[in-house]
């Protein structure tokens, strides 16, 4: 591993004992790049719907792991501010400076912003999300159980009324055909324009191996993650 120019003090960190705490959908993209000696822990994807619960869960994992590692890599973005307020007693925290995992899958914040600008009304799908059931199909199914078909249809229409495009992010995972097909069907069923976007492992690779350049937040032990850390150029 090499440190970025001017970041000598981090050389030590790159070879330090690292551990990963990641969301179920993000870990999928990280596993292929993780060295064998880096342990990882996975948190439930559903937590993202309740940021305060996600924050609690993350802090609990951090408290558990902080003493046994020099660096905790969080496989999360800002995630509806869930990471704001986190702190580790003894370890450094390294977090991608992204709004959410879409930027992680696309390889950079810039790539995410470009996609968002192109079509703000985009419903993103990845293999990971399809696997954990966070798709319009599954949401619709739950509503049918609760409210019956007719009302569920109406609710889904309202929920998706501002969406124009369904973007399937191909992160190069195995069995991609099956998931692409699912995404295509979803687009058809809910009257969305289907597009496939190439994902990129660039951010995940950098997270695992460095350099932790300005795309990452490196929080010193005892320091708290703030929103300002995410928006202030480093």
């Amino acid at each position: 591993m090499t440190a970025p120019a001017g970041f000598d003090r981090w050389t030590l960190l790159y070879t330090a004992k690292r551990r990963v705490v990641a969301c179920a959908t993000v870990i999928e993209e990280m596993l292929g790049w993780l060295p064998a000696d880096v342990e990882h822990e996975v948190l439930d994807f559903g937590l993202h719907l309740r940021p305060e619960k996600l924050r609690e869960a993350l802090q609990a994992r951090i408290d558990d792991q902080s003493d046994g590692a020099d660096v905790l890599l969080l496989g999360y973005g800002l995630c509806s501010m869930a990471v704001v307020g986190l702190q580790a007693r003894k370890a450094h925290l390294v977090i991608p400076r992204t709004d959410d995992c879409i930027a992680i899958f696309l390889g950079s914040c810039a790539a995410y912003k470009e996609q968002s600008k192109k079509e703000p009304g985009t419903y993103y799908l990845t293999k990971g999300w399809i696997e954990v059931g966070d798709t319009p199909f599954e949401e619709h199914k739950k509503m049918v159980e609760k409210y019956g078909e007719a009302k569920a249809r109406r609710l889904t229409q309202i929920l998706l009324k501002n969406y124009r495009r369904l973007a399937f992010i191909n992160t190069g995972q195995y069995e991609i055909e099956r998931f692409r097909e699912y995404a295509q069907k979803t687009a058809e069923s809910f009257d969305l324009r289907f597009e496939e976007i190439e994902g990129s492992p660039a951010l995940v690779q950098k997270m695992v191996n460095g350099p932790w350049d300005d795309e990452f937040l490196v929080v010193e032990p005892g320091q708290m993650v703030t929103y300002t850390d995410f928006i202030t150029p480093r």
Partner: protein, 206 residues
Amino acid sequence: MSQELIDAITDMREEDAVAITKKLLDGGASPVAVLDACREAMGIIGMRFETGESFMPELILAGEILAQISAVVKPRMQQGGEDKKLGKIVLGTVQGDIHDIAKDIVGFMLDINGFEVTDLGVDVAPEKFVETVKSTGAKIVGLSGFLTLAFDPMKHTVEALKAAGLTDVKVMIGGGQIDENIRQYTGADAYGKDAMAAVAIAKSWA
């Protein structure tokens, strides 16, 4: 205030809620009393959403029920003479964001609380807000956004209003995980956690 109506709304019994509204009005209840029940019900629904008991579909359904009740109540309000509006508000989801379910509920609550609301919809550019504030003469702007990506467009919109010389216009923001830090970052005058908060802020400025 009708507990029966509050229960129908909070239990998501759509048809019942509309039927009860009609029954109440036909029985001589005032439109204001019906709207008070709506407010009460929305407070409960908002609380359930906050604590994770309810989810997006319930919020949508509540919005739908409110719109239907409003359609029944409003014509009867106008019969009682022209009610004086508290003020004009320009509302919209900021550029780059398309979430509008909660924004629509905010619009509805502002409307039934006596404000004249111009709702610009979603993905609204800063220039569009400026233009509409100028054309309507509104003194309050409500910016909505669910994504953290919306914070920068909110900031840009506040800046655009100032740059256009609209310095007497107050801006409130809401949606998603907005707090005091985000308010300061965007330069907005106030933030609200839910529709009731938006009404309280607007009233304090009216």
